[in-house]
Amino acid sequence: MIKYIVKRIANYVVMLFIAVSLTYFLASAFMDPRSNYMSRHPHPPIASINRSLTLANINDQTPVIIRYGRWLKNIVTRWDWGLSPDQSPVGPAIAARIGASVQLVTLATVLGVVFGVSIGVYTAIRQYKWQDRALNTVATFFLVIPTAVLGLLVVLLAISFNKSTGSRIFYVTGLHSYTGSNPFLWFLDFAQHLILPTIVLTIPGMVSYHLTQRTYLLDTMNADYVRTARAKGLPLNVAIRRHALRTSLIPTAVDVAFSIASVFTGAVITETVFAINGVGSYFVQAISQNDINGSVAVTAFGGVCTLTGALLADIFSAWLDPRIRLS
């Protein structure tokens, strides 16, 4: 098993390197940081533009392969991911954003998976009964609501709730506002900020896991081996829990693991609605500001998330399924 994981990691490192390098060349070819300066009226002197661009190692007059060499050397030797066109370092900016994103996304992902899978199992066992029909209707309803609408809806409800109670129970912007040193109050404040975006992020994940897990379990529930288990003397529910559930979790595990990257970079709308500076909004900013180094760094982070997810998926499915483990 260890050997298997090490082999996988080695594969992934190679893949990540190729992907990030390709992104660097693509970003360098398509993004034009010079235009940031040229579009000003009057534009700064060309020599000073060139100097700024060279400082940030994004001057299009330097051959791209040389820029790539410098960029790579700085990362390898100093873990320096370069500068934005406005000369601010990319690395620390992203690190701060990742911190905010992790706070925002982790709980929502965990809740989404736990509730989604549980409801999926619950409804699959009660296929076509009223519980199943009711929950499916609710899930389909939330599935078709865009995140922005859902976010605003939650904000409106929270504000009217705040108004009716006359106190600020829910905060609708940012992640923190408490500045004191009492850890309990800090946590309470954090929770008050976190609860609304978490709801908005949890619901779409939850309903999609609910619907897919329901399908996966229904597929395996009618499998021959579940019938065998019942013929051995297991009551229906036990047979499903022991024999069908485990195999049906494998595809869900893979889905969850691969979604890690997209929950980090894909939470843009929620971040915007709640004014949270996360990785998602940074990525959008970086692209719109022709920030080559910033975009590549976000891609690298996304790549690491995806491959970590893939590795987790591999490990998890190998743990659940001996056929993978043994071959």
Binding site: Y225, T228, A231, K232, G233, P322, R323
Partner: protein
Amino acid sequence: MTNQKETQEKKPVLRVRDLHVSFASEAGVVRAVRGVNFDLYRGKTLGIVGESGSGKSVTSMAIMGLLDKNASVKGSVRYRGEELLDKDDLAMSKIRGKGIAMVFQDPLSALTPVFSIGDQIKEALTIHNPGMSAEQIHDRSIELMNLVGIPEPEKRLTAFPHQFSGGMRQRVMIAMAIANDPDVIIADEPTTALDVTIQAQILEVLKKAQRETGAAVIFITHDLGVIAGMADDIIVMYAGRPVEYADVDSIFAHPAMPYTMGLLGAVPRSDRGSDKRLVPIPGSPVNLADLPQGCPFAPRCPMATDACRHEEPELKPISGLEGQLAACLRADEIASKGLTFHDVYQVDDRTPSKFAHIPRSQRRKVLELKDVCKTFPVTSGGFFRRNVGKVHAVDGVSFDVCEGETVALVGESGSGKSTTLTQVMNFTEPESGSITVLGTTLSKKHMSREKRRELRAQVQYVFQDPMSSLDPRLPIYDVLAEPLKAQHKSREEIRQRIGELMRLVELNPDQVDRFPTQFSGGQRQRIAIARALAVNPKLVLLDEPVSALDVSIQAGVINLLEDLQNKLGVAYLFVAHNLSVVRHISSRIAVMYLGRLVEVGDTDDVFDHPLHPYTKALMSAVPVPDPQRERSRQRVVLQGELPSATETFAGCPFVGRCPLMPTLTKEQQARCMGERPSMRVSNEASRGDGHTVACHFA
């Protein structure tokens, strides 16, 4: 023998009375089982025979309480006096696996893939005996695995189902079924998915399991050959009802219900030559959602009278035949006159063959394979795939097919017979060796497009599953027109030819605008045959053409294939695992083992005097629908299973399983292991033309 045990044996362990099962479906209420009655005694085997849709499996599932929730079950099933139909799932789960156990059809999907064999056997034990210690469980598991003949049980406990072959998995299923010494074992088509040699092993294991546990067995099958050797009593079912009930000898000796007679007449036999034509039962099986009035078999029955179409007959004793019951108004008449199926069914004469009087050596060769090989690479590694070995799927196969004859390729699954067929279908040069079609050797370079298309038209195919090989969205007209269009025929020619074809395969030409789903399985296979014959090929490749069909339908398709061959002089290359069908239809047979040919010869010759030890074992494993013969027969039961395809053999690949090996001297054995046996003409001079065998000592 104690007194108590004796009284137990007189009382039935399972008593089924007036069992009815129906399902709600879109087409209306499907009445799957309509009044089944029987008593089951310990140590006895009850066979339930019927075609698909006859209600035999639904009956067993109803007894187990494993039917879907939309099934409505009425009547009474009493196990040791307890009514089972009133019990809920929880109460039934106390009886399932302990009192009544079950073995299912498909061992490949019946075991949970993510649990080890040991865990699954353990579960069967602990669910009914929660107090068992780990040591007791382990010992009992080993004991059970020994009983069902799983080698190295200690090692195999931690293995997972995918590491087991189908036969081994079925042994595990049986081990789990007998784990708690059940009173009743229900075996639902337990060997249908298995090769004939493995089937023989599993049947032995089942008999042994029954001896050890003294259980009553309900054996459900469509295969009359299997049931002849297994059952004490037989129920024949049709359209959800038992239509005949008797002990096994009576059923086979003097069936009294025309359907039973038809079934027996429709089955080809591996122990007889093909001089007699099969008796197809006309028509197709009934629609259970829309049963006709009166006897459901009446529309297909040659003896049906008006009375049969008005009143559904009860299952009742036949006068003059003690212990035999039939649900037929004319059963008494049949019994008193001693009618057999030859009297009841019209058997039309076979069309004489175009090539009947031309000896084989003077006929043209339509297909010739010489030393054809096909290997598949075995890859490993993650990022960079690399080849770690080769599977020799087809390994130096040579044979030929002459005009107007049928050559059958037979062997266990994995023997390479289908791959050989694919090599011909690919229509290019094989990896090594050569394929010659009508005198033209297939090659990549030296064949013009025109030539290739011409030659292609001479070779056509019929596949196993007529449902999936016909495009469900094309009407039959278009299905049949496709090969003709490929040959650039005019619209008028196509229209005429399609009419001809429909008549040729005995279908109504007015139905060409229907879609494949509107036809029954047998009719669909006829359409597939018509499509193959559309462009007047010289050779048709048939891959298991009748194995997806019910016995009564199968006979009709086999007869059709025979007639078409005799009429048109087309040659067949036939791949089948059912050796009885092969014996009936083929004139020559080529036996394959692990990608190599081991014996080739005239069919009757190979069946009656097999030379290669593998062929002998294969032939003796085929069950025959004759209870007396089955009981007295000595089987060559092969030990072990087909070795892994990645193994390479310097000598004969059969050495590991060969029953001849132990009788040989050390030097002879060394020769078998080290030297590859080549195909040679048999030593015995009396053999028919071209009987060759690949064995040093046969």
